[in-house]
C-alpha cells in the first residue's frame, strides 16, 4: 500500500512539474499575475510529493519488502540497517528517484529563498527547474520505475555489492547528488536570464551562493569517493581517472571556473556571456555524468545498471536540455553587452586565465573519457585511456593554473601594476623555488616533477597567506580586530586557496615519495617500510553480519617502540558472494602506513601475500580539501549573499 502511494505521489509530482513548467512561463510572457502565482505552490507541492515517494522507497528497503523488484535485487535481510537505507539510492532506479527528490528540494528552496527576485525572473527560473524535473519524472515512470512489484515473492534479496557496503559510500552519493543537482539551480538561473535577456551584478549575486553550495557538496562528495577508493580498494591509490570519477570531476572543474567568473560579473559587470555559458555547461556535465553512468556507453567499476533503452531516453533528454539551452545561448548571447573594460594585467585577466585553464582541463578530461567510445564507434578498436594521458595533460594545465592562483588575489581590478606585483611577491616566489630545489637536492634527484609540485603547492600556500597578511596588516597594531572584520567571502577565498595549496603538497607527497612493498610473509616475519617496522603476528577467522573474513594482525614499531597493531581483513561476503579487502591504515600528520592482506599460500597456512604502502602526507590531501570546503561554507555565510539582503556597494580592497 505504502509502495503504491509512493508511485502515485510520483505521478502527482510529475503533473505539478508540468504545470509549473508551462502555465507560469506563459504567464510571465503575457504578464498574467494569476498564472505566475502558480509557480511557488507547485514547487512546494512537487517537493512534498517526491518526498513521500522517496520515503516510501526507503520504507520498502527498511522493512525488506521483497515484493518490490528493486528491493529484492538490491537488499538482503542480513544487511546492517545503514546499508539497507543506503541501498535505496545505491541502485539505478533509486538513484534517479533520489536525483528527482533533490531536484525538487532545490526547486522548493529557490521558491522560498528567491521570493525577493524580480517577479518574471523568479517564475522563469522555477519554470526551467520544473521542466528539468519533468524529464526525470518521465524517465522514472516510463523506463525505471523503482516501485515495480515482483511475483512470485522471493524469500531473500540479492544483496548489495559488498564494495559499496561501507559508511563512506553510504554518504558519497547523497553529497555528490546534492552537488550535481545543485548546479541545476545555476542552470535555471542562467536560462532564466537568457529568456529575460538581462544579466547584471544582481544576477551574479543571486547565482553565486547556489553555485558555492553545489561546489561545496560536489567537492565533499568527490573527496569522500576518493577516500573510499583509497581505503577500500586496497591499491593505495585515491584517483584512477575512471570514467565515473571523471564524470563527477568535469562539473567540478566547470563549477570552480563559474565561481570565479561570477565574481567578475558581480564586481565588474563583464564576462557575462561566458559566465552564462559556464553555468549551462556545468549542469550539462552533471547530466552527461548521469548519462555515462546509466547508459552503459562506457565500462566502469561504478556502472551498476546499464540499459541501452534508458540510454536513448537520457540522450534525448540531454539533447533537449543541453541542445536547447545552448541554442538559446547562441541566439541571445549578443544581448549581453559587456560593461567594464580591463587591462591585460588585472584581476579580471587573472580570472579569465583561471577560467580558460579550468575549461580546457574539463575538455581534456571529457576527451580522454569519451575517446575509447569514439574509437570504438569509428574503427571498432577497444582501447582504454588511462592515468598516463590524464596525468600528463591535466598536470600540464595545472602548472600555469597554480601559478596564476598565487598571483590573482594580489592583483588589482581593472589595471594592476606588474612591477609592484612582482616586487611584492618575489620573496614568496623565491621561498617556494628554494624549498623545491632544496627538496630536489636532499632527495638526491629523483623525479623532477615531485619538486615542481612541491614548489607549486608551497607557492599557492605562501602567496595566499602573504596576501591575507598584507590585507589584515598582520604585523601592525590591532591586527586581530582587522582579522575578525574581514568580509567572510574573502576569508573563504583565502581558506579555499590555502586548502588547495595543501592539497597539492599532499598529492606530491603521496604520489612521488611513497614506497610500497609486496611480499609473502610468514608468521613472525618483519618488514621495514617508511621508517616503520611491521611484524606479521598471525591470522584469525572472524565473521560479520553478512560476511566471513580472515583478520591478520601486524605489530607496528618505530625506533623499537611499539606504536600500534594493525588488523587488515580479507572479507568474503555472502550475498552477493564477493571478496573484498579492508585495508588497515595508521595515519599520522607526516604520512599513512597502509597494510593489505591478500591470499594465503595454498600449502602453508601461515604464509600470506602482504602489501605494505607508505604514503607520505596523505592526510594533507584530505585535510586540504576539508579546508577548501570550510572556506566555501564561510563564504556562503557572507551576508552579501543572503538573498533579499539590502545590496550595498562593497569596496574591493
Amino acid at each position: 500500500m505504502i509502495v503504491e502511494a509512493g508511485h502515485f505521489a510520483l505521478i502527482l509530482a510529475c503533473f505539478l512539474a508540468i504545470i509549473q513548467g508551462t502555465l507560469p512561463l506563459y504567464g510571465a510572457m503575457r504578464n498574467r499575475g494569476r498564472l505566475m502565482a502558480l509557480s511557488a505552490p507547485a514547487a512546494y507541492g512537487q517537493f512534498f510529493f517526491v518526498s513521500i515517494s522517496f520515503g516510501a522507497l526507503i520504507y520498502a528497503f527498511i522493512v525488506s519488502d521483497f515484493s518490490v523488484a528493486n528491493v529484492a535485487r538490491n537488499s538482503h535481510t542480513l544487511k546492517p540497517m545503514l546499508y539497507k537505507i543506503a541501498a535505496a539510492w545505491g541502485n539505478h532506479e533509486g538513484s534517479i528517484l533520489f536525483w528527482a527528490f533533490i531536484l525538487s528540494f532545490y526547486g522548493a528552496a529557490v521558491a522560498y529563498f528567491g521570493r525577493k527576485l524580480p517577479r518574471t525572473f523568479y517564475v522563469r527560473v522555477l519554470g526551467i527547474q520544473a521542466l528539468v524535473g519533468v524529464g526525470f519524472y518521465l524517465f522514472l515512470l516510463l523506463t525505471s520505475n523503482p516501485f515495480e512489484r515482483l511475483f512470485p515473492l522471493p524469500m531473500e534479496g540479492n544483496g548489495l555489492n559488498p564494495l559499496l557496503q561501507d559508511p563512506g559510500l553510504a554518504f558519497h552519493p547523497p553529497l555528490l547528488y546534492m552537488g550535481y543537482v545543485g548546479l541545476s539551480v545555476t542552470f535555471s538561473f542562467a536560462v532564466g536570464a537568457l529568456i529575460e535577456g538581462r544579466v547584471d551584478a544582481a544576477w551574479a549575486r543571486w547565482v553565486r551562493p547556489w553555485t558555492l553550495l553545489a561546489w561545496c557538496f560536489l567537492t565533499s562528495g568527490i573527496t569522500l569517493g576518493s577516500w573510499w577508493a583509497y581505503y577500500e580498494l586496497g591499491w593505495g591509490g585515491w584517483w584512477f581517472w575512471d570514467p565515473v570519477e571523471n564524470a563527477s570531476f568535469m562539473p567540478w572543474l566547470v563549477a570552480t571556473g563559474l565561481l570565479h567568473s561570477a565574481i567578475v560579473v558581480e564586481k565588474r559587470d563583464t564576462l557575462k556571456a561566458w559566465t552564462i555559458l559556464l553555468a549551462i555547461i556545468a549542469f550539462s556535465f552533471s547530466l552527461l555524468g548521469t548519462f555515462i553512468v546509466r547508459s552503459g556507453v562506457l565500462t566502469s567499476v561504478h556502472a551498476f545498471a546499464t540499459d541501452p533503452e534508458r540510454g536513448v531516453f537520457i540522450l534525448l533528454f540531454l539533447f533537449i536540455v543541453i541542445g536547447g539551452s545552448l541554442l538559446l545561448f547562441a541566439l541571445r548571447a549578443d544581448k549581453l553587452q559587456p560593461g567594464g573594460l580591463f587591462a591585460p594585467i588585472s584581476r579580471e585577466s587573472m580570472l579569465v586565465v583561471n577560467n580558460l585553464l579550468l575549461s580546457v582541463a574539463a575538455l581534456v578530461v571529457l576527451f580522454g573519457t569519451l575517446y575509447p567510445l569514439l574509437r570504438d564507434a569509428l574503427t571498432g578498436d577497444k582501447i582504454t585511456v588511462g592515468p598516463p594521458f590524464f596525468n600528463l595533460a591535466f598536470g600540464f594545465l595545472m602548472i600555469p593554473l597554480l601559478l596564476v592562483m598565487g598571483l590573482g588575489p594580489s592583483t588589482n581590478w581593472k589595471r594592476a601594476d606588474l612591477i609592484g606585483l612582482t616586487s611584492r611577491l618575489k620573496f614568496v616566489f623565491a621561498a617556494a623555488v628554494v624549498a623545491s630545489l632544496a627538496h630536489f637536492y636532499i632527495a638526491g634527484g629523483g623525479d623532477m616533477m615531485a619538486a615542481v609540485w612541491l614548489g607549486l603547492g608551497l607557492w599557492v600556500f605562501l602567496s595566499t597567506f602573504y596576501e591575507w597578511a598584507e590585507r589584515v596588516k598582520l604585523f601592525k597594531s590591532d591586527a586581530m580586530k582587522r582579522i575578525l572584520r574581514q568580509p567572510r567571502a574573502s576569508v573563504g577565498m583565502s581558506l579555499g586557496h590555502l586548502g588547495m595549496g595543501i592539497v597539492v603538497i599532499g598529492m606530491a607527497g603521496s604520489a612521488f615519495w611513497g614506497t610500497e612493498d609486496q611480499s609473502i610473509m610468514t608468521y613472525g616475519d618483519s618488514q621495514e617500510i617508511g621508517g616503520y617496522e611491521v611484524r606479521f603476528n598471525s591470522t584469525d577467522g572472524v565473521s560479520g553480519p553478512n560476511y566471513s573474513a580472515v583478520r591478520a594482525s601486524f605489530d607496528v614499531r618505530k625506533n623499537g617502540r611499539e606504536i600500534t597493531t594493525l588488523e587488515p581483513e580479507a572479507r568474503t561476503y555472502f550475498a552477493p558472494p564477493m571478496p573484498t579487502t579492508e585495508a588497515a591504515i595508521y595515519s599520522t600528520f607526516m604520512g599513512d602506513l597502509f597494510v593489505v592482506i591478500g591470499e594465503a599460500n595454498n600449502k602453508a597456512y601461515d604464509q600470506w601475500a602482504v602489501r605494505l604502502y607508505y604514503k607520505p602526507l596523505q592526510i594533507w590531501l584530505w585535510g586540504g580539501v576539508a579546508i577548501m570546503v570550510i572556506g566555501g561554507l564561510i563564504s556562503l555565510s557572507d551576508r552579501r549573499f543572503r538573498l533579499g539582503a539590502v545590496t550595498r556597494r562593497q569596496k574591493d580592497e
Binding site: 529484492a72 522471493p154 524469500m155 531473500e156 540479492n158 556571456a273 555559458l277 549551462i280 555547461i281 550539462s284 552527461l288 548519462f291 547508459s295 552503459g296 556507453v297 562506457l298 565500462t299 541501452p308 540510454g311 536513448v312 540522450l315 540531454l318 539533447f319 543541453i322 541542445g323 545552448l326 541554442l327 545561448f329 547562441a330 541566439l331 548571447a333 549578443d334 571529457l366 569519451l370 575509447p372 567510445l373 569514439l374 570504438d376 564507434a377 577497444k382 566471513s548 568474503t572 555472502f574 550475498a575 552477493p576 558472494p577 571478496p579 595454498n602
Partner: protein, 173 residues
Amino acid sequence: MNKFIPLAIFCAIAIALYVGLSLNPSNIPSVLINDPVPEFALPAVGGEEGGFSSADLAAEDGVVLVNFFASWCMPCYVEHPFLMELKKRGYKIYGVAYKDKSWDTNGFIKERGNPYYKLAADNKGRVAIDFGVYGVPETYVIKNGIIRYKHAGPIQEMDFEDKVIPIIESVDK
C-alpha cells in the same frame, strides 16, 4: 557566429554518444557461449579413476550442469542446498572441485550430501581456466557438449527460474 560553437561541439558529442549506445563496451568475447566445452579429462577426487571428461559431457543427450566449487569457498556452502534441490528435481550435475584438497572435498560432500552425478577434481585449476572460470562457484549449462549459459556466483532459485530455465527450454527442443 562563434556563439554557435558550443552547440556544434555538443551536437558532435551527442552523435558520438548515440552511436556508442549501440555498442557494448563490455562485450569482450571471453566466455565460450555456444562453443563446445574445452577438451579435458579429470580424475576423481583423490586422484583415482572415475572422474569425467569432455567426451562424457558431449555424450549426454539432455541438458546437464557443470558446477565448479570448493570446500574453502563460503558462497559454495550457500549454494549447496539448492544444488541438492536441483538433484531432487532430476537435473544431472557434474561437479568439479576447484583447487581443493581431496579430504576437504570428501568431508564437504560427506557432511552436506552429494548433489553431483559425477564428481572430479581440478587440483591445478587448469580446466577451470579453459572454461573461463573467474572464481568459484560457477555453473555452466551444457547441451550435447555445447556451453549454452554460464552463471557466476552461487546459483539460487531466483537465478535458476529467471535465467537458466528459459535457456534450457530454448535449447531443449
